[in-house]
């Protein structure tokens, strides 16, 4: 494999809250290759969105990055000064969010919001900026882009708002797009249209995409590789086919068996017993799945362990993998 576009290494993030310190991420590592679409999968509380926000540098004040490196084309973005980080954001890497309507400024015309980003990253005259904003709208297949420039988010459907979000994110042709639950809350038919659009734009531009979602089926359909997260840990990383056909981590295997689209009869469904450990605990076990796991060994509690390579491009963080 050539050098990855983005390499996240040993990222550890804590949140300070009223009720104590929450250990949200611990030693999170994964790579995204150029032109690759990866899926970061996890249930609520797995830390998948926090990972994305850390990469983009938009965590809120309560967060503390304890350690880790986020290398983008070899440069650690965590070490950048504020100015170069601002120049990087939106130009080299950008993000789209869940809830497309609230992610847009409600009282600014969508065309102006796109133009703001273009004007920020490329020196150009106002008329030229406008032309490029229209082009950005056209690119996300918005009918009648000239007229839509003056529209406000409340006048557009959820699907159209998400296309505007994509247009803003892609206005400066970034190399990496992070899509944070981009279709949650949209109808399935709209979801398909938006996801097809993202995939098409990615392949046109050779852009990498990190799709963050709780929907394993969605990721399986669109992603080349999948990263499974559980309670702030990366538990398994592999090519999509491998994850689906030969999951090695007990959590991944259980997760797969709880997805309705993979089974034919209701009694084949299997739930995962227990719940996430309280991430405020100081005595979190080295494997945060251990307390819900039926393959737990005494060695599971014996100190930290690293993810191990179990196949080509297939890593698992487990002492007793399947």
């Amino acid at each position: 494999m050539t050098a990855p576009l983005l390499s996240v290494q040993n990222l550890t993030v804590d949140f300070t809250t009223r009720s104590g310190m929450v250990h949200v991420l611990e030693d999170v590592s994964f790579d995204i290759g150029a032109g690759e679409i990866i899926g970061i999968i996890g249930e609520s509380g797995s830390g998948k969105s926090v990972t994305a926000y850390t990469v983009m540098g938009i965590l809120d004040h309560a967060a503390r990055i304890r350690s880790g490196r986020i290398a983008f084309e070899g440069t650690d973005v965590l070490q950048m000064d504020r100015r170069s980080r601002d120049n990087w954001r939106g130009k080299e890497a950008s993000i789209i969010f869940q809830n497309p309507r609230t992610a847009l400024n409600p009282i600014r015309a969508v065309g102006d919001q796109i133009a703001d980003v273009i004007a920020r990253h490329t020196p150009a005259r106002a008329s030229e900026v406008r032309g490029r904003a229209v082009a950005a709208l056209k690119q996300v297949r918005i009918p009648d882009p000239e007229r839509r420039m003056a529209a406000f988010p409340f006048e557009l459907s959820g699907g159209l708002c998400q296309r505007i979000g994509i247009a803003i994110a892609l206005a400066c042709a970034p190399k990496l797009l992070i899509a944070d639950e981009p279709t949650t809350g949209l109808d399935v038919t709209t979801q398909a249209v938006i996801m097809d659009l993202i995939r098409a734009l990615a392949s046109e531009r050779g852009m990498s995409v990190a799709l963050i979602t709780h929907d394993l089926a969605l990721a399986a359909e669109y992603c080349d590789r999948i990263v499974i997260m559980h309670a702030g840990h990366v538990v398994e990383t592999a090519k999509t086919e491998d994850i689906i056909a030969r999951p090695r981590h007990p959590y991944t295997a259980r997760l797969l068996r709880s997805v309705p689209s993979l089974v034919d009869r209701i009694d084949e469904l299997q739930a995962i017993e227990g719940s996430l450990p309280d991430l405020r605990r100081e005595d979190l076990p080295p494997c945060r799945f251990a307390e819900r796991c039926d393959r737990r060994l005494p060695t599971c509690d014996a100190g930290k362990f690293e993810a191990a390579l179990v196949g080509p491009g297939h890593t698992v963080a487990c002492r007793n993998p399947l």
């Binding site: 990087w88 954001r89 950008s94 609230t102 409600p106 600014r108 703001d116």
Partner: protein
């Protein structure tokens, strides 16, 4: 445009309600004005009855209301029994004094509170944030009449820098030629800087008193609204797009934060109109608040009625203005 016209129309029922309330309130005033003026023992009961008839107090309430309404439409607010002038003339004479003071105080309050609230929201937990919280909590806790007296004591009695708190003008100077009735404005129009300075210095203490009172809600709302928009998802999008700090703060966060702030401005203005009465009393300011107080003491109901109507009309106007400003800022409001 149609929206503004509709909004104007919708103010009519409110205005009508206001007229009813003012009418009713003053009709149940305990002192029958006729009796009050008839307290002169030389007046016979026939004279009193004649006076009551002259004032229309012998008619039914509905009839009285109708007469009142018809007069109102002709711009007739009745006569002040104590000064003998029509209420309209009295109000027109005194309104500029109140307006000058209130508007100046309002601008002062906005000029301080918006930057203060903004700065506090940008650095929560910082010194300036604590300062803004202290000022806004103190501001709502200080009764205007106490603040006013305190300022008089410090700046007039102790330091001697402020003029004597008796009215709008140095008694040794002449008023500028009347154009708007607002002395500072008229002085500027006449180009008389000495008079302007005199009128302006007279206004500083009462204006600061009122501004201190108005500061609190405006600062609080600016801070809260700013914190809200700064934490919103669209500001997160703007940050993730690498937009400059300036653009994020002003174009994205502040413009959105202005919406609730403008609404609060309207409310604050209403409070200030009420506080006017107290401040005018403390500083012997010859505005309409002081005029209303005099008429209450004298059980002279026509001026009180006129005063309440004018106040409500001004307030409805202010609300209308805030609505229009909100419509300009927020495209959603015009739908």
């Amino acid at each position: 445009m149609t929206r503004i016209a509709l909004r104007l129309l919708s103010a009519i029922p409110t205005l009508f309600g206001v007229v009813i309330v003012t009418f009713l309130l003053t009709r149940v005033l305990p002192g029958d004005p006729a009796v009050f003026f008839a307290s002169n023992p030389s007046m016979s009961t026939d004279d009193i009855a004649a006076l009551r008839e002259q004032l229309g107090l012998d008619k039914s309430l509905i009839e009285q209301f109708w007469i009142y309404l018809v007069a109102l439409f002709q711009g007739d607010l009745g006569n002040s029994l104590t000064t003998g002038q029509t209420v309209m003339t009295e109000i027109i004479n005194r309104l500029p004094a109140s307006a000058e003071l209130t508007v100046f105080a309002f601008l002062l309050a906005i000029g301080v509170s918006l930057p203060l609230g903004l700065a506090a929201a940008l650095r929560p937990g910082s010194l300036i944030d604590h300062l803004s919280r202290l000022i806004s909590t103190l501001g709502v806790s200080m009764p205007t009449f106490v603040t006013g007296l305190l300022l008089i004591y410090v700046f007039y009695f102790l330091l001697g820098v402020a003029p004597e708190p008796i009215g709008r003008m140095d008694p040794f100077l002449f008023d500028p030629p009347k154009v708007t009735g607002m002395l500072t404005v008229d002085a500027l129009i006449a180009g008389d800087m000495e008079v302007f300075r005199a009128a302006f210095t007279q206004m500083i203490l009462p204006a600061v008193t009122m501004a201190l009172f108005a500061l609190a809600p405006l600062t609080r709302m600016t801070r809260a609204a700013m914190l809200g928009t700064l934490g919103s998802e669209f500001v997160r999008t703007a940050r993730a797009s690498g937009l400059s700090r300036r653009k994020i703060i002003f174009t994205y966060a502040f413009r959105n934060a202005l919406l609730p702030v403008v609404t609060t401005m309207g409310m604050t203005f209403s409070y200030m109109l009420g506080a006017n009465v107290l401040v005018e009393r403390v500083f012997s300011w010859p505005g309409i608040g002081a005029f209303a107080m005099d008429s209450i003491i004298n059980l002279d109901y026509a001026p009180l009625q006129g005063f309440m109507l004018v106040m409500a009309a001004i307030f409805i106007l202010v609300n209308l203005t805030t609505d229009i400003v909100v419509t300009i800022i927020d495209p959603r409001a015009s739908k």
